[in-house]
């Protein structure tokens, strides 16, 4: 155990050294930015660690939850859109809501028809019909409402509340969606959850991208506020650019770091406590855990929701830090699989491993951009020298190389270090 502890300490010391080198080379404001983003990723990876490391549940829909978090913080903290509130938009939306309620009543009523003696195939038919009718009723009200809002007001705007509420709301919505997915897919075989989460993240992406009335879609929303003063505020006070950037980002970093520290503390406590032991028992042998009287499915639902809340909050933080919500910027590779690389390399089941993986991989990812471009620039130069001509689109191709390397890292890690750099300790000293 002492050996592993010192290994973790060594890895963290190396990481700090790496950060110091970066700070010396690229300046402190850049490093602070990197750390803020790495902190947000750390929060997301901790959420994934609850799901995968504690509970053994797949979540390949991280991107969807991140987008939901981003849309939520946009909705909560963006200033009120007077054009929308002064138009008949709210009224139309209310009508659509009423239509949705009527549709829900119809569906619920159809599900109860067995009480009046309609059973079997007829009931299934009626329920299907009710879903169809409900859907048509809802669409008949919703479509004009959204069209009118987009035409008259652009989009609904925000609520103008503090950003921290937005982060909390992001976590809440992500948790709610996770609850619905979990209710459907937990208890089935684990591969189904993986496929279902991939599906749901694509659908969430389409919904957020195409529901222009709510999220402004691809037109993007900016600027989104920070929970701390912005660099512009410091500049207005008379600081120069570099200092104001450092102060503002430093403030943001403090908030994120505090959040990560609190979450880490709670998670480590939970891991060692009865709750964590139960979760690991379920993960390692759910049949045995079930026979000991643990409610496997609802416990798994619990961790799935809990992890998704953290992922949603992380998504909100990323969006509010970059100050722009752009649904087009989300990609499955960068926002789902990238985080899986972090947790696999770091060490699933170990929070320190997850934290290390998140920061380390993010730093390496950012650093690899100029590296890859330099490498490919060199190759292109060489091929030009020997008369083959320069490689076309070298810039974008060299960036694609990093995707290949990500895949290679997953494969190599699974083969040679399947438990990650800082693995979960199999035996806890009592």
């Amino acid at each position: 155990m002492t050996v592993r502890l010192s290994r973790a300490a060594l890895l963290y010391a190396g990481l700090v050294l790496l950060l110091i080198v970066i700070a010396l080379l690229d300046g402190t404001p850049y490093t602070t930015r990197l750390l803020v983003e790495a902190g947000a990723y750390a929060l997301i990876v901790l959420g994934l660690n609850i799901q995968w490391g504690y509970g053994g549940l797949f979540n390949f829909g991280i991107m969807g939850f991140l987008m939901v978090g981003g849309a939520a913080v946009t909705f909560i903290s963006y200033p009120l859109n007077d054009k929308f509130w002064n138009s008949d938009g709210p009224l139309l939306l209310g009508k659509a809501l009423l239509a949705a309620a009527i549709a829900a009543v119809i569906i619920l009523a159809a599900r109860q028809v067995h009480r009046i003696g309609i059973k079997g195939g007829w009931k299934t038919l009626l329920v299907t019909l009710a879903w169809f009718v409900g859907y048509v009723i809802f669409r008949s009200q919703m479509d004009p409402a959204t069209a009118s809002i987009v035409k008259n007001a652009g989009f609904v705007g925000g609520l103008g509340l503090p950003v921290l509420f937005g982060w909390a709301f992001g976590g809440l919505v992500a948790g709610g969606i996770a609850y619905v997915i979990g209710r459907i897919c937990l208890g089935l075989r684990s591969d189904y959850l993986a496929i279902a989460t991939i599906g749901i993240s694509e659908i969430l992406r389409q919904l957020i991208k195409n529901n222009q009335w709510l999220t402004r879609g691809t037109l993007t929303v900016s600027p989104i506020k920070w929970p701390v003063p912005l660099p512009q505020d410091y500049q207005a006070m008379g600081f120069d650019t570099q200092t104001s950037l450092l102060y503002a980002r430093g403030g943001f970093l403090l908030v994120v770091a505090a959040l990560v520290a609190i979450v880490m503390f709670l998670l480590i406590r939970a891991y060692g406590g009865p709750w964590g032991r139960m979760m690991r028992a379920i993960r390692d042998n759910y049949i045995a855990a079930g026979s000991m009287g643990k409610d496997v499915t609802s416990r798994q639902l619990e961790i799935f929701v809990l992890g998704s809340v953290l992922i949603g909050v992380g998504g909100s933080i990323l969006v509010s830090f970059t100050q722009i919500f752009d649904p087009n910027s989300y990609q499955t590779i960068n926002h789902t699989f990238f985080l899986w690389v972090m947790i696999i390399v770091g060490g699933a089941g170990n929070n320190w491993g997850a934290l290390f993986g998140a920061i380390f991989i993010y730093v390496v990812w950012l650093m690899s951009e100029p590296l890859a471009q330099a490498l490919f620039g060199g190759i292109s130069y060489l091929s030009a020298q020997i008369g083959w001509g320069a490689i076309p689109d070298i810039e974008s191709r060299s960036l694609q190389m990093r995707v290949f390397v990500l895949g290679l890292v997953i494969s190599v890690a699974l083969r040679y270090a399947p438990n990650g750099l800082i693995p979960e300790r199999a035996q806890r000293g009592s």
Binding site: L188, D191, Y192, A194, A196, Q400, F404, G407
Partner: protein
Amino acid sequence: MDQLIFFVNKVLISGAVLGSIYALGAIGVTLIFGILRFAHFAHGDMMTLGAFIALVLATLLAAGGFAAPVPTGFVVLPVAMVITAIIALGLDKGFYAPLRKRGAKPVTLLIASIGVTLMIQGAIRLFFGVDTRSFFEHETKSIIRIPTDAIGGSRDISFTEPQLLMIVLTIVLCLALHFFLTRTRLGKAMRAMADNADLAQVSGINTALVVRVTWIIAGALACCGGTMLALDVSLTPDLAFNIELSIFAAAIVGGLGQAYGAIAGGFLIGFAETLAVFDWSFVLRPLQPWLPFHVDVGLALVPTEYKLTVSFVILVIVLLARPTGIFKGASS
């Protein structure tokens, strides 16, 4: 009558084409699942890779001045299928077999397949760039028209030559697979192993050979499906990533591990997606006097952007109502 022809053109033909593509992909997914017990996520990218290999071969042929009565994509298809099958074998040898040997859980293999996905995507973009490509840059897509005057229609039933070839090819391949699985020793061994791997091994079946054959079939069919998709629309590096969900939905709907189920599931998903985004306004317009609402353009059940939702909803319904799929696949 015209409405019916419109319906045939828009739904039956494109649904059948889409269904063929999904079926070919889903067969591979379901076979790999049946034999190796893991969901192979890199399958969609194997399809894309196969399509790119076919494109390279077709370009080479075209550069060599070769001309055939059928689109070049189909001429090079057998060669591309062989190459993709070899690549599939190599992927197994390099990335999945070592993990299996270690006794890794199926979940680990699933994550490994994500790694393979990223590598294939990265490699494709590295070598081919991110642009959209087409098989029909140098040749034209000929359109076949069947006049319908005889049955009182004023429009033609029309489809492209590749579409016709695709459907024929899919039927041929499905029949070949059927005979392979039911008539040959190896095919029977494969089904035995899908039912119970341990029992198959103790009764003397060469499981290593079965695994190899599985990858060969899966790779070849993936190449075929991917090339067909590229021939029907166009070829982009993220081509199959977009249909990954549909393929998995098809495999699950048909019952994971069931080759026939995958074919049925593929066509079911293909037709459902086409029907859901079908614009009913043209068909319903003659009925306007009897309808309580105004028939407007764009009267589809689901907006086109949400096409993907259809396969997901079907998947969810099947998972809720019949978790083992309509053909009762592997349940554990």
